[in-house]
């Protein structure tokens, strides 16, 4: 890779060991993907829950945090993905003291590095959405795909170590979705039916993700007959990124780089084309529901809920009472507004539990299952259904309304 004088100085250790590690890490990754040089980035978003970090990762962070202040601070705004617990509710989730200790240690280390603890995976709705063409280093697949596709920003999936590196160096290797040529569509998905509910948007995302198959595929979705809202795009993108490891999609006539399909499809290249209809979306959902008649817990999470979703949950719970655990997970930015507007109180009065700054699957989901006796889980998040099976749960993908019905009927799912 071609390095500037400043990057050479970082690599030589002239700017301290943290920057030397960071630029070497980034150079290693960049070489793997054939990057010619680095691109300046304006923001970084860092995924580092302690279930992923483990003790080894926390100790690694603490080593960085113990460097002299002038050598360890990030140089661009660097924010965090959800943490592994909500300290205010940890006892209700039966999180163990060692989990909380590990989280506290990680937070202390991040703060020493100058990281801003936003603890959110919906920063594009609440913190500082990137603008079209802005190069960023984001580290949550849902954040990356929304920012790339809906906002027109430019990011690869940046895992915790790479996002932290980008925060320290202010740059990232120029490959993948930082390049114009990588942003062209590689498959066309003609959709004959526009989803209505969030779970249906997620199901469509899951189907397109399976068709795409890997990180380097860029689907363009054609045929959506109205402009989806931000929460609908959020569920679609999160599921697409989860099922397909996809980082960028286009939606013809809707997303900024694809006002027409021809804007992103190279003519005469025989781009693979697929058809998806209502029956496919129903079948996708049935595949997660037919084996489950009753659930132990209902979870709204992954991604964290917007203020508007919080209101929807509160409205659906009015006059009802949850008889099984009902977890409603939002961001630390949304939570105060939900409190102020009474949504939190309405949800909790109906037996729900509002959680902030965490995400269900990033919060020791296996240990929570064992401690609470949770095996079967209902959610309206297709992303969560894709992930949570590996943690020992059997998930059911339902609408938000059907999830609330199940929560208020001892977990029974209405056919």
């Amino acid at each position: 890779m071609r390095l500037t004088d400043e990057e050479e100085a970082m690599r030589a250790g002239n700017l301290g060991p943290a920057l030397r590690w960071a630029i070497e890490h980034q150079t290693c990754v960049g070489r793997y993907f054939g990057a010619r040089d680095f691109v300046q980035v304006s923001q970084a978003h860092l995924m580092a829950d302690t279930e992923s970090l483990g003790v080894a990762g926390v100790e690694w962070l603490e080593h960085m945090a113990n460097l002299p202040p002038e050598h360890r601070r990030v140089r661009i705004p660097t924010i965090t993905d959800p943490r592994g617990t909500d300290f205010a509710a940890a006892h209700r989730l039966k999180h163990e003291p060692w989990m909380l200790d590990l989280e506290r240690r990680a937070i202390v280390a991040f703060e020493a590095l100058g990281v801003v603890m936003t603890d959110t995976c919906i920063n594009y709705q609440t913190i500082m959405p990137p603008v079209r063409g802005e190069h960023v280093a984001y580290g949550d697949t849902g954040v990356v795909i929304y920012s790339n596709s809906v906002c027109g920003a430019r990011s690869n999936f940046e895992g915790g170590p790479s996002a932290l590196s980008a925060g320290l160096t202010g740059r990232t290797p120029r490959y993948g979705y930082h390049l114009d040529e990588r942003r062209r569509a590689t498959l066309v998905v003609n959709v004959a039916w526009t989803p209505r509910e969030f779970n249906e948007w997620g199901a469509l995302g899951g189907i397109v993700g399976r068709l795409a198959g890997d990180y380097w595929q860029v689907p363009v979705v054609v045929g959506i007959d109205r402009v989806p809202g931000s929460d609908e795009m959020k569920h679609f993108g999160a599921a697409l990124a989860s099922y397909g490891s996809v980082a960028l999609f286009h939606m013809a006539g809707i997303t900024p780089e694809a006002q027409r399909p021809d804007d992103v499809v190279d003519p005469g290249t025989g781009t693979p084309t697929f058809q998806v209809g209502e029956a496919d979306i129903c079948a996708f959902q049935r595949s997660y529901t037919q084996a489950v008649e009753k659930v132990d817990v209902v979870v709204f999470s992954a991604p964290q809920l917007s203020l508007i979703e919080m209101r929807l949950v509160a409205d659906l719970l009015d006059g009802r009472h949850a008889t099984i655990p009902l977890l409603v997970v939002t961001s630390p930015q949304v939570k105060p507004d939900a409190d102020r507007m009474g949504f939190t109180a309405r949800i909790e009065a109906a037996g729900g539990m509002v959680l902030s700054g965490m995400c269900f699957y990033q919060s020791y989901a296996r240990e929570m299952a064992e401690a609470n006796g949770w095996k079967r889980l209902a959610t309206n998040s297709a992303k969560l259904t894709n992930i949570i099976g590996g943690y020992g749960y059997t998930p059911a993908l339902l609408s938000m309304e059907a999830c609330i019905e199940a929560a208020c009927a001892d977990g029974r799912i209405t056919p």
Binding site: G54, G139, F157, P161, W216, I387
Partner: protein
């Protein structure tokens, strides 16, 4: 079959040898593994229930989210870790994770590597050469 060699487009880490665990399926440390027990845990994964400890995993494509970037490091620290990872297609997360953990990984072949390597074969993975490769020994 022995001594057949398959070249990859890129690689990281040190030379490794071990028995191959092969499937035409994806890989994500978060989605697919019980990292405490060292087994594939996602129902529906073609290796569900299989131990990955000390095996050379030969799989199709990197899947899932960003957690693997930390998790390979954590798995290696505890010694509950595959010997190496061989993939048809990687995403940045796998490379970032392998770079942090100094973990052996190669990817990108001119054939489907999951069809080329028999399950259980004893293989050598060498990412240190100019042309990284996996070889049946």
């Amino acid at each position: 079959m022995s001594n057949r060699i398959f070249y990859a487009t890129a690689g990281l880490g040190a030379k490794r040898r071990g028995h191959a665990l092969v499937a035409k399926d994806g890989f994500s440390a978060r989605y697919d593994l019980d990292r405490v027990r060292g087994i594939f845990s996602r129902p529906g994964h073609k290796l569900a229930g299989e131990s990955y400890i000390g095996r050379v995993l030969v799989l199709d494509a990197a899947k899932g989210g960003v957690a693997t970037a930390w998790m390979l490091h954590e798995m290696k620290a505890r010694g509950v870790v595959p010997e190496a990872l061989v993939l048809n297609a990687v995403n940045p997360i796998m490379v970032q994770g392998a770079a942090l953990a100094d973990f052996t990984m190669i990817s990108g072949f001119d054939c489907d590597i999951t069809a080329a390597i028999p399950n259980g074969a004893f293989v050598e993975v060498d990412p240190t050469c100019e042309r990284p490769f996996i070889r049946i020994v």
